[in-house]
Symmetry: C2
Subunit: 336 residues, 2 copies
């Protein structure tokens, strides 16, 4: 039986207490293997092209409206695989726990990670747990790495983007940043903004499956938000990207909160949004496909790729033009 | 050009400063891809059985006699793959950097990781970088996940272990723990103990390639040391493991330091050692193979698997018997 309700340094020692933490908290939560099958690595069968990705999550606070670090850690890696056109299959889950962390909080976070993994159809197959002193980390850091199988029809990459291609966005930008920030600052708005934190592989992979190479590029606009993703596209292709502000879906509560907090929603982090660049003649079809999924119901065609230039320009609601710059640094540290 | 010599929070924002850090420090060091090829995941071809593993490194200090956190992060994951009988192929490298970290230290650590990866024949294919505030982490945390191809002849697992099988150890135990501890405590011994931190895949995989299923089980005895590995074998198999203390290779300087520090070398962490359980008739051959590699030159047959029981017993140098217990907690926090 786990003694006490808090993580101790000794839980990270590789001995008896580590086994207890694994057997009584971690493995039951993440649907783990039999203890006698615990080896240093998981074995899986593969064939063909696979995608491999990693992401560390340092978000503060650990729980926020719409999710927690466990759900985020699964969604983040699932989404990185999905935007490569890969069906997410296997995840690793590596925990760094701070001495003194409530074990109940750990249980909640793991349950949330496990639920999201089940829902996304991925299996957590291997893991690691380290414990550090009170002053050496706050709360919990999670790394997930993921392996996915690339869809045979996927032909994605900056180099596939052509002049005239359309840019789609799956929903209103900035909800994750606003939700985390409002919790962090203990702000309350008349209507609470909830993080968009979710796995977007179903709509993303449907695009690839049904539109094939007419889908040129996909990205989940996390840190740096829509602005970072669009400027990367412009930089990497050397093409202008023209965005229509009035076409960008808006979450009114997030907009109000952003104004109050002095944040730019276009540079604010998302954790369940998709940016897709598709051929002109596939744009409306793509929008409809995305709109068929609840998590991307408000998808919109927000812009067009130009012939040359390398800048992102936005036609504002009042008809002006504004250059969207790559965010310089950090609006919000510890957002994912 | 990177401004300043220290990591700032803004380096983690996903914007322009993140790109600079990536393009000028991280990618050049780890032999990275072209920036225009930077997507959220790496693509690789696979066929057959693969192994997948993850490990987070929180060692303190970041540099120690015989290695640093970068080398350790590569070796640790290479070794976890190797002991599954897998040829290490691809690594991810995820950094959590503390605001204020010296960029020169980061460069050294990355160069060291890259050199070890090259030497081990693995490719760092994907990564992630996060920055946290001064009070939220100390120095640097690295997670590596790895993918390896399992050798066709590998038949490894606790369930393969039989009565009469022999236990081999590739060299003197505890060198990593002593090296780190002496640096941490600023102790100096007449002869400095150097960490054994290294990739052990060559000797480990040679055993599997040449002895096939006569190799029953392999493990790299890291946290919890030899004692943790042996007690896990005894627990998982329900068999006794009898160890001969006089057969265990000794590093005299490590032994002296351990005595001074009050540490038990059998429970102390290693980062470049191999424990292998092999069929009785293959033990001498296995020892010779290991001895043919510099990093396992002092390999020895240290014990035998019994019929039943589930305990680890050591016959001491003076002929007594001592039960080796699973370490309870942590001798040394932050050792890997």
């Amino acid at each position: 039986m786990m003694r006490g309700g808090y993580i101790e340094l000794a839980h990270g020692g590789g001995g008896q207490l580590t086994s207890e933490l694994l057997d009584e908290v971690i493995l039951p939560a993440v649907g783990g293997q039999q203890p006698d099958k615990l080896t240093d690595a998981a074995v899986f069968e593969t064939a063909g092209k696979a995608a491999f990705t990693t992401d560390t999550f340092v978000i503060r606070p650990l729980e926020f409206p719409g999710g927690d670090i466990g759900k985020l850690a699964v969604c983040g890696t699932v989404n990185d695989l999905a935007v490569c056109g890969a069906t997410p299959r296997y995840l690793s889950l590596a925990l760094v726990l701070r001495e003194g962390l409530e074990i109940d909080l750990l249980r909640r976070v793991l349950a949330s990670a496990a639920a999201e993994a089940r829902d996304a159809g991925v299996t957590i197959v291997t893991g690691d747990t380290k414990v550090v002193e009170r002053d050496a980390c706050d709360g919990m850091i999670i790394n997930t790495a993921g392996i996915g199988e690339i869809l045979p029809g996927a032909r994605l990459g900056f180099e596939r983007i052509r002049a005239g291609d359309r840019v789609l966005l799956s929903g209103p930008p900035g909800e994750h940043a606003i939700a985390v920030m409002s919790r962090r600052e203990r702000l309350s708005f008349s209507s609470e903004v909830v993080s968009d934190c979710c796995s977007i592989h179903r709509p993303a992979l449907e695009l690839v499956e049904r539109l094939g190479e007419r889908v040129r590029f996909m990205r989940d606009p996390t840190r740096g938000g829509l602005a970072a993703t669009l400027t990367e596209i412009a930089e990497a292709t050397g093409r202008d990207v023209e965005i229509d502000e009035s076409a960008i879906p808006v979450n009114r509560a997030a907009e109000a909160a952003a104004e109050m907090l002095g944040l730019d929603l276009l540079s604010a982090a998302n954790e369940g949004k998709l940016v897709a660049v598709v051929a002109e003649d596939a744009a409306e079809q793509a929008r409809e496909m995305l709109a068929g999924h609840e998590i991307s119901a408000r998808a919109a065609v927000i812009g067009t790729v130009g012939a040359a230039g390398g800048l992102v320009e936005m036609i504002t609601r009042v008809g002006g033009r504004r250059v969207i710059q790559k965010p310089y640094g950090e609006q919000l540290p510890r957002i994912c």
